[in-house]
């Protein structure tokens, strides 16, 4: 991190005297007072540590612009805001603090996070003076060079109005679909999760061409007036958003359309995350789902997960498992080349015709991890093309017909090759 710049903020009030009494040590130990901003606050150790770790989570692992590796710390009257921004996404959180001197500072995010996570259980004193950042906690004391805050880009503004979703359901839905998003940057649109706001519902859709995962959750348009909108959010950012807001009662989602920087913002309580939207047309994957499926099998979700995990031990990388469904149940077979083979049979209730499909085990495990139900239904769609087996529709098996399942996962089988 190139943090050997001296920190000077021209907008800040000019310091006058050395810091007031009651604050011991650090300043007196430093070299003669430099012209610079003084920031000073005291904060609860756990609150501080949690806030720092939230802010840095979205920071890029590696960046060509070192300044984007910083965390912006802004001390106000009785609170401190920590922010991180990399032009694509931003994270911002505000925590209560006893502020001695308001002001702004920029410090290395990784370093601050490492320090914050290991501080002893004692109040944290944070201060900037004379071109040094100082963190004191109990008997521990750290001194770091700040980064040039005047070069830090302005963070995007949050739109005031947004629709509301329950935090727990949002986290759930994100967890169910992000696994299906592509990780291959060759096709950027499918590295995102498509959010589709409809009347009273929010759909999350992800695909990597080989599978599509969809989850619908309730949407309260509240004061936003958003009743129909789509937003393509990078899956990596959305995954962090899911974890961040899992315990929030409600999450406000605002979509800022128009202009050349389309933006989505998620906020709850004292935290907010924004992300630029991915541009481009999302493939119309919803219409790949069959209207109805006549042939299907019902299985115990955990039995299937266990069997798939066991049998795939002998598989070579990228290889698929063969699933044979018959009135007697399901037989899984893995041919691991010359070295090893494995097979296992488990109970399955088959309705309709016998079927053999070849599926990538991880793709199936991802689906089974999403159904959140004791029993799972695998539906087999029909096809006339010998070069393209019909996709398998995976949903939770619930008692009775409760309408379309809120989670649906469509998986394209491989050709039946050993």
């Amino acid at each position: 991190m190139s943090s050997n710049h001296l920190f000077i903020d021209p907008d800040s009030p000019t310091p006058t005297d050395p810091p007031g009494t009651g604050v011991r040590g650090l300043w007196q130990d430093e070299s003669p007072q430099q012209k610079g901003t003084h920031v000073r606050f005291e904060v609860n150790r756990d609150v501080f540590s949690e806030a720092v770790s939230f802010a840095v989570k979205l920071l890029p692992q590696r960046t060509t612009l070192p300044i984007l590796g910083g965390v912006l710390i802004e001390a106000g009257d009785d609170s401190v805001t920590l922010s991180a921004f990399d032009y694509e996404s931003s994270a911002r959180t505000t925590i209560g603090a006893a502020v001695g001197e308001p002001g702004r500072a920029l410090v290395s995010g990784r370093l601050l996070a490492d320090i914050a996570s290991r501080l002893p259980a004692a109040p944290v004193e944070f201060s900037v003076d004379g071109g040094r950042v100082s963190i004191r906690c109990g008997a521990g004391r750290f001194t770091l060079l700040p980064m040039p805050v005047e070069e830090y880009p302005a963070l995007p503004e949050l739109a005031a109005a947004g629709g509301l979703v329950p935090g727990e359901l949002l986290a759930d839905a994100i967890g169910q679909v992000v696994v299906a998003a592509s990780r291959d940057d060759v096709t950027p649109v499918i590295t995102g999760v498509q959010l589709e706001v409809g009347e009273n519902s929010l759909s999350l859709v992800a695909t990597d061409r080989y599978r599509v995962a969809i989850r619908d959750i309730p949407w309260d348009s509240a004061d936003s007036g958003i009743v129909e909108a789509t937003a393509l959010v990078p899956a990596r950012v959305l995954a962090e958003i899911g974890k961040t807001f899992a315990h929030a009662k409600t999450v406000r989602i605002a979509i800022a359309e128009g202009g050349d920087r389309e933006l989505i913002a998620f906020s709850a309580e004292d935290k907010a995350v924004t992300s630029l939207l991915i541009k481009g047309n999302y493939p119309p994957v919803k219409r790949l789902f069959p209207q109805s499926v006549e042939d299907y099998a019902v299985l115990s979700t955990s039995d299937l997960v266990d069997a798939v995990r066991r049998v795939s031990l002998v598989l070579e990388r990228e290889a698929a498992l063969r699933f044979s469904f018959s009135p007697d149940g399901l037989t899984l077979e893995a041919a691991g080349g010359e070295q090893a083979q494995a097979s296992e049979s488990i109970d399955a209730v088959l309705t309709g015709e016998e079927t053999v499909v070849s599926l990538k085990p991880q793709f199936l495990i991802d689906a089974l991890g999403g159904v959140h139900s004791e029993f799972v239904r695998l539906g087999f769609t029909r096809t006339d093309n010998p070069n393209k087996p019909g996709p398998v529709l995976i949903t939770a098996q619930t008692s009775g017909d409760t309408g379309p399942s809120s989670f649906r996962y469509l998986l394209q089988p491989n050709l039946l090759l050993r």
Binding site: V186, Y210, V285, S324, S358, L416
Partner: protein
């Protein structure tokens, strides 16, 4: 199976139970002789022997008409002609056999992609996932026989069973021009009366050793206590034969997936210096490689070219693709980029394209790649109408007529 003359032919009734009998063994009847008859239809119905008519040569193949006189493959020609003096002897044409063999396997792959060629004129098909368009195993076998007859004029006999080994025995019994389904429940009954030599892995010595212990049929083998078999044959072979005798054969139908690379190259009659001509040839080679990848159910992560110059100096270049492909167009793009990167080159004597780092192709839910769709359509047209049916415009011979401006591909 060449010794069979069709006298103990067995075909199954329409209503034979084919549940679970998902393995087909398709075998072309009297293949070499039948191919010769395609070119000389006037010989149909007569005893025909394929081979060179010289005292030291042997019979390559014989029609069923000739086999009835006791003519077999590998028999000295002199003996064959003594047994059947009025037989017509025709010279073998290897290139014709290869051509028709390729057509035969193309037709097999219209039934299921899961085809395992065995030799030039027979192969296994696993129709367990063939889908509704094809229907039951019996229907698949009938359709295969019909397509082979329609599109080649050759005759395939097909055995249908629950395992490869039984399917192969069944096709042998069905010859000529037959279809035999061995229902899974009747497998053991079907096997029992057959001689032990019919089991895979039982050759001359093993057969003798078994007969020395009064085991001459598969039924007798199945009834022999395993300990006795182990003493006679050793643990591994005893175990395997005992399973085979009870119709158990776990070997799956395997396609060309085991291949590590797929390549095509061509040598010019005269060295070629024209870059446009080299690109055109790369296009043809790339399309071939793509078609073979698709047939094998593979996609390649790396594309390599090989260029040999007039002075026999040879260069090889390769590049790894962002995404594995089985599309001729993408292979061609990579190959041309490699050729261009080689810079100024002397006239070329040989050029080749190779697809490497093969893996099983993952089928996507939707095709974004229009080229792939187009090439799949070409595959299908070629399966039906033969290799020359469809080709890229730039590979068509010059018509000599006026041309519009060329559009980029």
């Amino acid at each position: 199976m060449s010794r069979q003359d069709g006298r103990d032919r067995l075909v199954s009734a329409e209503d034979a139970d084919d549940t679970g009998a998902t393995i087909l063994h398709a075998d072309l009847d009297a293949f070499f002789a039948s191919v010769e008859l395609l070119d000389r239809p006037e010989l149909r119905g007569r005893p025909v022997i394929v081979g060179r008519d010289s005292p030291r040569s042997v019979v390559t193949a014989a029609t069923y008409e000739a086999r009835r006189y006791g003519v077999n493959s590998a028999m000295p020609m002199a003996v064959a002609l003594r047994r059947c003096p009025h037989a017509v002897v025709v010279e073998p044409h290897r290139d014709r056999y290869e051509h028709w063999s390729a057509r035969f396997f193309e037709i097999c792959r219209t039934i299921t992609p899961l085809v395992e060629p065995v030799g030039i004129d027979e192969g296994f098909l696993d129709v367990s996932g063939a889908g509704r368009a094809i229907g039951s195993p019996r229907a698949a076998a009938a359709l295969l026989r019909e397509r082979v007859r329609e599109r080649t004029g050759l005759v395939a006999s097909v055995g249908v069973a629950g395992s490869k080994f039984v399917a192969k025995l069944a096709s042998g019994r069905a010859k000529p021009d037959g279809l035999l389904v061995v229902p899974v429940a009747e497998t053991v009954a079907f096997l029992r009366p057959l001689p032990v030599d019919a089991l895979w892995g039982v050759g001359g010595r093993t057969g003798e050793r078994l007969r020395g212990r009064a085991i001459s049929t598969i039924g007798e083998l199945a009834d022999t206590p395993p300990a006795t078999l182990r003493a006679a044959l050793g643990d591994a072979l005893a175990q395997r034969l005992h399973e085979l005798a009870r119709g158990i054969d776990p070997r799956p139908v395997v396609t060309e997936r085991a291949e590590r690379s797929i390549g095509r190259e061509t040598t010019f009659e005269e060295d070629v210096a024209d870059p446009a001509e080299l690109r055109r040839v790369l296009r043809r080679l790339s399309d071939d490689v793509g078609a073979r990848l698709r047939r094998a159910g593979c996609s390649a992560r790396t594309i390599a070219i090989k260029v040999r110059f007039g002075d026999f100096r040879t260069i090889s270049r390769s590049r790894t693709l962002a995404e594995p492909t089985d599309v001729g167009h993408a292979i061609h793009e990579a190959a041309v980029a490699l050729l261009d990167a080689a810079g100024e080159i002397p006239p070329v004597r040989l050029i080749g394209v190779r697809a490497e780092q093969l893996g099983p192709r993952t089928v996507s839910l939707w095709e974004e790649d229009a080229w792939r769709e187009a090439e799949q359509a070409v595959d299908q047209a070629r399966d039906r109408f033969g290799r020359g049916a469809v080709r890229p415009a730039r590979l068509l011979p010059d018509s000599g007529g006026p041309r519009g401006p060329r559009r980029p591909a």
